[in-house]
Amino acid sequence: MKILNEIKFTFPADGRNESLARTVVSAFSAQLDPSAAEIGEIKTAVSEAVTNCIVHAYRGTSGKVEITVRALEGNILYIKIHDSGCGIPDIEQAMEPLYTSAPEEERAGLGFAVMESFMDKVTVRSIVGKGTTVTMKRKILSAQNDT
């Protein structure tokens, strides 16, 4: 699919940057004319993915999160969130709703479930010890649907 526009940004996996990351993606998505509901859902999905990098990938350590955002032909928003953290040994289990490896931090185990319900397509690739890449796609319908 043809890439119409693209940005990349990298930031330390620090909780303070959760808000920054979703705000940047939401600002980029404005060119696709999303509705307020679509913006809210995109921000939530990004927030979940970035939180996973901080809470899980770099647990107790530090590292960088790299985000690529693209506007694709057909008014599709593409988001890739990459970390070089610990990796996920069992992706299927990690994506199971309510499964969490961090209950003591009050994680609900819903990160991937939220991403999957708010985006059209979510793909997770992970290598233990190397890192994880989450890619998400969402066709932006139009702000005209806003009520």
């Binding site: 808000s19 939530t44 939180t51």
Partner: protein, 101 residues
Amino acid sequence: MPVIIDTEENTVIARLSGEIDHHSAKSLRDDIDLAIDRHHPKQLVLDFDGVTFMDSSGIGLVMGRYKSIKPYGGSIIIENTGAQIKKVMRLAGLDRLAVIK
């Protein structure tokens, strides 16, 4: 100030504001738990009127407070949630733990 806490008889009311994510949830959790420990309320009201964004960290926050209030026989009432927040709560089946208004 991300949360203002009021107490009335057997009720603790937490008026949340701003964005609830993993980063901000921690201080909200500490502030609300402090009020629960102090007042042992029968009811906890979480007012989301001022909340502009919430991800699944907010679900963890509500589930955790359910655990905090349970020893006192307490229940949770969630008020003034916007459409995006309601969607996340519904996804989590939070209506089984709390009354969502």
